[in-house]
Symmetry: D3
Subunit: 129 residues, 6 copies
């Protein structure tokens, strides 16, 4: 059904692979990145391609997931954002962007599928033009 | 789990088949129709069978998806309605029915699954009798 | 705080006056109309002035509240719409526009104030550009 | 605008009077009760009159606010319910009814006005017949 | 992705098996129980393990699904609760707990998956600490 | 009803006075500040006193409203936040905090009252402990 993809950013390879296969099996097109610099380069190369962001918070060196989300929202201010956090989600209240979803690890894969779908559908609702 | 089905109306055969198989794989019972007249006849033959409507807007000759949804809502005023639009969703704001979801093409299949499920669950919540 | 007004359409003069004074006392600027033709002329003379519509359904001769709302939504597809209905709200499910609120008579005035405010605030949220 | 009233149940007379005057000033019709037995008798004498319940949890001897709400919801299963709690709201998660709002003391009066209005408007939306 | 499981309580074996396999296929870890006593013992043995409850209302002898949900909410006051009802959902309005979802039989399996996912995601949002 | 106040931050004196009187008339306790440094000092002197923040974005020299909100959310991660913006709300999507409301100028005073009340009530709902 489409052009367009979900950008998934996660520095733990096993989790990245799990996320990619779960989202693809559910029916999403997925592009993965295992660090912030790669995610930013991928996004910037074709911003319109990316319909949603799923990102871990800690991404090794470089920007955090908080910073990536703000960066991409400056370019597309209705981009759906789902954060995944491994060490408590306490920072979301001041680091997160509006209309985002925070999912704490450990999580179940259908939570990610539902979160991305819900934000995309909400977007369709609120932006009928 | 059941009697009951989702009515899917789409005049492009390939998309109709994709929708049917995605919804069935997710666990829905599905009845497809590839034009408005056929959809209306199918619905009218057994209105209680249909638990939700997923419809494209442009359906070739005959009624549009907007008209179908209003027609069915006159019979079942809590019927969940999901519109799929191929050419901009600008008309939803004045042609759509309340408590419906508009999904713009191109879309990802889990958006449809989540949209139908969410509307059905919302219905259960709001109509406890 | 402003330029801008809420357009209130109601053919029963006493109710129209009550609505106007309740909304004004709460802090809204209000323009009243007691029939559909007058409402349409008022709106068309300065569409950007009107930030929300509160309308009865039955408006004597001429268009209904359902038709007025669709007419104005064609011009401003994010216009907040609050319907007031005196004889059952059963038609809202197929005659109403998306993201509208239906309030059945008899009602309490703060319901109208809250309905208009909530829809305006929701609008601010969803349309950050 | 109406027949119909909000039933307010609170055993502290000063707070009851404050609630009554704030709700009336906002535009509600209000009937007050300062204990559970009186509230139940008042409600049972004319169940259709009461459009919403605002109740403290601890009401001296007799039933609690939790029990009153369940009692009235058995009669009117869409009755809007707003609980006010003076000593922590921890029990709401297992004692409260669905689609209710819990407001912790101390609170601001407009919270009560908005809570009742929002639940009443939501009711109008979900029950179009 | 995890430790943690959804507790599914259903006294009809065939439905229990269907629920278990649908939830597992979607990506949840599931523990099933076919009566209330077994469910309570399972939950009490390791309350932190259980991230959500899906329960039928009528469970043969012993506690009902209403009672089980209240019991577990006393221990974990943000536990997501999804009720499944075979004989009308009329009692949910006074027997259900806040922030729960009621799904009437017959239902489609993706409704359960979406309901559990949505409540879990909502939890993540509202409890960032 | 209480101890506790809403902190209102606005560098235009006339608007600040209007906001204060509208919120007080509605029933809130209000503390005003006309620049960011004063707002921060006021908040830090008694963080538990402040139940909600209403802030303009541009506050003259010093921190912006975006920065103030993040600062206070680090201390109280469920603080209700309402932003008022005079020059387009486009930055909210990447500068705002989650679960905040953005209201564009010009606005009607009841929007502010409803926004603060709704966020406070939502807080009560989601934080029952």
């Amino acid at each position: 059904m489409g052009d367009g993809a979900v950008l998934v950013v996660e520095d733990e390879t096993m989790i990245l692979l799990d996320l990619e296969s779960a989202l693809e099996e559910a029916g999403f097109e997925v592009v993965g990145a295992n660090n912030a610099a790669s995610a930013a380069a991928t996004y910037d190369a074709d911003p319109e391609k990316f319909k949603a962001l799923v990102t871990d918070i800690r991404l090794g060196s470089g920007e955090t997931g908080w910073e990536l989300a703000r960066r991409f929202r400056r370019i597309n201010n209705v981009l759906p954002v789902v954060y995944i956090s491994g060490d408590g989600a306490a920072h979301w209240a001041h680091e997160g962007v509006p209309n985002s979803i925070m999912i704490a690890k450990p999580f179940f894969m259908p939570q990610i599928v539902t979160a991305v779908s819900t934000l995309l559908n909400h977007l369709s609702i609120i932006d009928p033009s």
